[in-house]
């Protein structure tokens, strides 16, 4: 058996352990949502779920929330991604009707199922109910570039990388995330003076 085949078999087995109430098990036909079109209002503030319905099940939502908090936890600089409801943004993302988002949905939904299946296998409970130590044990196995080529964790590692990017995207576009990075722009000023002398000195450039 090739490695690819073995890993996808494992991935499918994980998906097969999905509880019966998961939406991947029981698809309810709904009218297909459309996107925001080619002429949306650009100056209003949009909320997740406003343009197309969110689609995570309660169990997926819980798993995503906990994973957001593991990927971007609170520290002395900023709150956790879960506190900023980034899991809800990820729900908005995977529920969007565009082709890339539909692809992401397949990856994310199966990945969340794998997280629960893996936590169940190792700790006999859903991922969201495991301890921090147990969460790290699972994430440590799938977070690295190296995991992407391991026969056992290749697909979950792909999921994790995508989920991490979405979490980081949702988090760092928020006011708290922008502040954490030290973004101090998007504010009008009368002059633009360029980099402070201190910055130029660090980089080794003579001030003009």
């Amino acid at each position: 058996m090739t490695m690819q085949r073995r890993e996808s078999l494992q991935w499918m087995l994980a998906a097969a352990t999905l509880p019966a109430w998961s939406p991947t098990g029981a698809a309810v036909p709904k009218p297909r949502p459309t996107g925001y079109g080619t002429d949306p209002n650009l100056v209003k503030t949009y909320r997740a779920g406003e343009l197309w319905p969110l689609s995570f099940s309660e169990r997926q939502r819980r798993c995503a929330e906990v994973l957001c908090a593991v990927i971007i936890p609170a520290d002395e600089h900023s709150p956790s991604a879960a506190e900023l409801q980034v899991h809800q943004f990820i729900d908005e993302w995977v529920s969007a009707p565009y082709p890339d988002h539909v692809k992401d949905k397949a990856l994310i939904v199966q990945g969340l199922a794998w997280m629960d299946a893996e936590a169940g296998r190792r700790f006999r409970k859903p991922f969201a109910e495991t301890s921090a130590e147990q969460q790290h044990a699972v994430c440590d196995d799938i977070c690295s570039v190296a995991a992407k080529t391991s026969p056992r964790f290749a697909r979950p590692a792909r999921f994790f990388a995508r989920f991490r990017d979405l979490t980081a995207g949702g988090f760092y576009t928020s006011p708290q995330g922008m502040k954490d990075l030290g973004f101090v722009g998007n504010t009008p000023s009368e002059t633009f003076d360029g980099p402070p002398a201190e910055v130029l000195k660090i980089v080794g450039i003579r001030p003009v």
Partner: protein, 600 residues
Amino acid sequence: MPFVTPRTLQKDYDVIVVGSGAGGGQTAYTLAMEGVKVLMLEAGRNYDIAAETPMFQTYADAPLRGAGTPDKPFGFYDATIDGGWAVPGEPYTRASKEDGRQFEWWRARMLGGRTNHWGRIALRNGPYDFKPHSRDGLGFDWPIGYEDLAPYYDKVEMLIGVYGSNEGLENTPDSPDGCLLPPPAARVGERLVQQRGATLGVPVVPIHRAVLTRPLDHKTIPAKLHPGNERAQRIIAQDMQARAACFWATPCSRGCSIRATYQSTAVHLPPALASGALDIVCNAMAYEVVTDKAGKATGVRFVDKTNGQHELVTGRVVVLAASACESVRILLNSKSAQFLHGVANSSGKLGRYVMDTVGSDLGGQIPLLENLPPHNEDGAGGSHLYAPWWLYQQQAKGQMNFARGYHIELGTGRRMPSMGTAAELEWLNGGTYGRQLKADARRYYGSFAYFSGRGEMIPNEQSYCEIDPAVKDKWGIPVLRFHWQWSDHETRQAAHMQKTFAEIIEAMGGKVQGKAELDGRKAIAAGGSIIHEVGGAIMGSDPQRSVTNAFCQTWDVKNLFITDGAPFASNADKNPTLTIMALAWRAADHIVERLRRKEL
């Protein structure tokens, strides 16, 4: 009544202008300021920059955090309406399925067209750029030289407001005193590119962009723009005072509600409307130039998109500025017993020699720029520095394996965090999460440098558009089919870009993201994807081999002009917008003169 409907049209327009972007905007402006009665047809809807521009919205305010989708390919806040690589109901086709032979066509259906989102990079063509065939035997010379267009470059720069500096570099013209606004201070990353580029012989200097780094001089410029025309001077002086200078925030690609950057809707259309000589019909999809028995243009047919009705407007002169390929499409679709192959196509050259810009990009991460103290790098909402082409001498000596050059556009800085800011860091950190990921995000934020090569494509016989024999758009108008092929000059140039960018990144002490692609056929961006498509109705001095003369006037129909990028006889590495405007102003002056002499 500036914005009119087909019901409220007047009967006696001097000039019908199709399109409201850089070419149409400049044409209409110049004509209207001279009191010529102009009707402008715009295929898209009206667009109000004051009310519709998302100036300080953050990505958290947008759906999907502002990331691009098929509805908004350049991101939610991009100032493109009803446009992108695909316009719903308005397809185009491609003759080939092969890699490297694809053409992508970006359109916008809105007042002001693509000028609302453009990069604002406003470079003059240099003297060499008008006589490329004389220099290396490739492509075509223009029937004009730099000296013919220079006075119009001066005027356009003074009207729209362009920052930049005079560096005295080869084939990179200086502007006369009073034309340019001061360039903004360079960002730290740009300074580092400049410092390290110098060690490789790559000159990095202030770029020219159409952004007001200070208010326009409304006291002296109007008289230079409109000598002897006091009314025009008064109107433009007043309008200049209504444009604010840049307040050093918000990306220009969103458009600018304070009118600090050039977009047709901020600069050309308000004073042209204020003159009282311009009427505009929006949602008017032009598809045919109507001619009479004598072979003169009498008007333009269009579909009123609000109700699907077909309408005809008449005028003494017709100017197409619908974008290079759209203008070609209109002409090819204007068939009659007299013009079997489309209007202005007796040469058979209509649709031929479509050119885009050679594009290739590479990015890297620069440890020297990590963990810098927070400071505001928004600046003028785009690049402050760039590298003009620097290897003219080596090319002249035959040391290069491609003809024609490219310039380098830079992307650096602590930009407003977006979906991509802390994504895909694995190539740097191996894949982390938790507190480590947050530390990594802080460390790497603002430490990237991106290089975009933008180079000259030489026109060729295999790159052209024609009418697709089968496919029509939702209005029933036959669509364009694109043929495309690069020559070795372009693909080798793209490979040279990759090699150069990797060298600069390494000279900055940085790491290339991915790897430099040294196979030029893989390194080059698809045709059309740089959105600098020009040609298709090239100007020349021989009616057998070109579509228009030096005044953008078609050889076959003397009261028909084309003032978008279609008449370009070559496509220098310099971004085409400033040249489109300079040519349009020159053509419009010519129209005014000929109308006054009753020759049109």
